[in-house]
């Protein structure tokens, strides 16, 4: 997952996309200075970038002058849904798995210290509640988050922990690293508040993770993990259209 930096990284683009991502995931309108504090960025810069996003329709201001996603985010979601194909490619697998297990099935990606869900629901969960309806969840408490964190190199994990202090758990850093090491070994992770979910990575290199959540019989754990891995293998990541 480590990428070679090009000769010149365009910082404005990096900063602007950072603002956009934060804005889109905020669960309420956010002010310029608040966002600047969150991102440790100068408020003028943030104001300028949000102004540009607003001009593009990707942001919009309310009557309190706070920013929230604008109309062009609908366009962005249509574009990226098509460009990613992950949701459409995985839906059959997800629905089948949900029907088979009778449990909640989830597909999520890691975004900073959180997991963002593309899908989260049971077999008969209405689609509008299963797709795009949940907000971000802390990665370290999520089986999806833990299995994705376990795929990172030590350097990547250290870098992420350095930037995301809320990723560091109460039990301390060494124990955290050790538990991720165990996840790596087993090939699956447990998560949820009471360990009620189980996840495996999707894609090689991993770009998402697939989880089942609900009542998991400890004796069936390994079997379920195998089943999930089988399902994950059926989800194609970023294949060219010629593969269809």
């Amino acid at each position: 997952m480590a990428r070679v930096a090009p000769a010149q990284v365009n910082q404005s683009l990096v900063n602007g996309l950072t603002c956009l991502q934060e804005l889109v995931l905020a669960d309420r309108p956010i002010g310029v200075r608040e966002l600047a504090r969150q991102l440790d960025m100068d408020p003028t810069r943030v104001s300028r970038l949000l102004g540009t996003l607003s001009w593009l329709g990707l942001a919009s201001q309310d009557e309190d002058r706070k920013y929230h996603p604008g109309p062009a985010v609908h366009v962005l979601s249509a574009l990226s849904l098509h460009g990613s194909r992950l949701l459409s490619d995985s839906l059959p697998v997800l629905r089948e798995l949900a029907a088979e297990t009778g449990q909640i099935v989830a597909l999520g990606v890691l975004w900073r210290s959180h997991v963002c869900y593309l899908y989260h629901g049971k077999a008969h969960t209405p689609l509008e509640l299963a797709v795009g309806a949940r907000g971000p969840f802390p990665a370290r408490q999520s089986s999806i988050g833990r299995v994705l964190l376990a795929q990172l190199t030590a350097a990547e994990l250290a870098d992420l922990c350095a930037h995301e202090s809320d990723l560091l758990p109460p039990e301390g850093v060494p124990a955290f690293y050790e538990s991720l090491s165990q996840v790596r070994e087993r090939g699956y992770s447990r998560g949820g508040i009471h360990g009620e979910s189980l996840a495996v990575a999707v894609g090689c290199p991993a770009v998402a993770a697939l989880a089942v959540a609900g009542s998991i019989d400890p004796e069936q754990e390994v079997q379920l993990a195998d089943r999930l891995r089988e399902a994950a293998a059926r989800i194609h990541i970023g294949k060219s259209p010629d593969d269809v």
Copy 2:
């Protein structure tokens, strides 16, 4: 839909997002110079911007050094799907309408000279084929495109036509403007290769459009348009979470 330009628009961000959008919608990997020609941008700039997107994981190169969407586009689709909520909010309406009419139902947004679909399918179309599976379609041939173009001001439409030459139809500009004027008057549009679809705008101001396609009895046209408008009114656009 006209937006006030902020004091200082960040051009790098605008250019970078333009590259990203084009990349995500390309139906095959695209080269730097090809994209530069399409966007009428200097190739070095495009190379630099794509390099930055690649560094962020939003782009990736194949063995021919051409660029295609990278793993972070999955994250972007999860983020924007959540931020937009348009797909999740409209799914019940779409599926109900599809069941009721027995026809194809579509929800799309206008992106440059094309329509991009969030949803396109019949009542029993598998979700993986209905969501995010279709690529862009020329706006002027689409009922969704025409009804959305009809919502633009004269200035906006002129600006768009100036930038998107493929938007200009064979019958000429005045006739095009006149037909859009009629769409505006009627409150719905016909589209498709043989006029086999009918669409109304969603949202005020319009951010998307809802269409039915298939066999449309001309005598039921007005009635169907009313039904579509009723359905469109049930799709909430960009409400704050407090409205849920």
